[in-house]
């Protein structure tokens, strides 16, 4: 059961309310996406920590239902 871009965005925004999320479907098969997430929550955090915040927002789907999510995170400039 793949995920839709809207589902991914909704999950991320549910736990990172100020997140600006852009999602690109890499393969059209519902489980290879690239996402850019910009949020104040990332300020001062390492890349690993930033990505872990997003993975937590996805509630365990990352690596399971969602096979590939190329992630780029940053705080607002």
């Amino acid at each position: 059961m793949a995920m839709s871009p809207a589902e991914i965005e909704a999950l991320i925004k549910a736990s990172i309310p100020d997140a600006q999320v852009t999602i690109e479907d890499l393969a059209g098969d519902g489980d290879h996406y690239a996402a850019t997430v910009i949020s104040e929550a990332f300020r001062g955090k390492s890349r690993v920590q930033q990505h872990q915040i997003v993975y937590a927002a996805l509630q365990g789907r990352m690596g399971g239902v969602l096979h590939a999510l190329a992630l780029q995170t940053s705080a607002p400039t």
């Binding site: 890349r47 690993v48 990505h51 872990q52 993975y55 690596g63 190329a70 992630l71 780029q72």
Partner: protein, 111 residues
């Protein structure tokens, strides 16, 4: 009683300066993301130990718990988790990976 898999991981990343937990082997990577990190490491000229998690289901799950990181590959440098494919690529494109490896004296063959 600490987790035996964690103990194994801890000793592996302590004894080897650069460890890549990956799907497949450096010579025969079996996943695009793993292959990409192998390419980047060889391009930067950093020898590393490749650990094939596909051969060991316990390790494959244990490593994800160890770092609270849900995917493979995972790169460790001097015992520290650096990141997965996205982060390694981002660091490589920004020249940060090369700088970090040089600073830690891990670059042996200039590509």
């Amino acid at each position: 009683m600490t987790n035996p898999v964690f103990q194994r991981i801890e000793s592996e990343i302590r004894e080897n300066p650069v460890v890549l937990y990956m799907k497949g082997t450096p010579v025969f990577p079996q996943c695009g993301f793993s292959a990409r990190v192998v390419q980047i490491l060889s391009h930067v000229g950093v020898p590393f130990k490749g650990v094939n998690v596909l051969e060991d289901g316990e390790l494959r799950d244990g490593i994800k718990e160890f770092t609270n990181w849900p995917t493979i590959p995972q790169l460790y440098v001097k015992g520290e988790f650096v990141g997965g494919c996205d982060i390694i690529m981002e660091m490589y494109q920004a020249g940060e990976l090369q700088a970090m490896m040089k600073e830690k004296g891990l670059v042996t063959a200039e590509a």
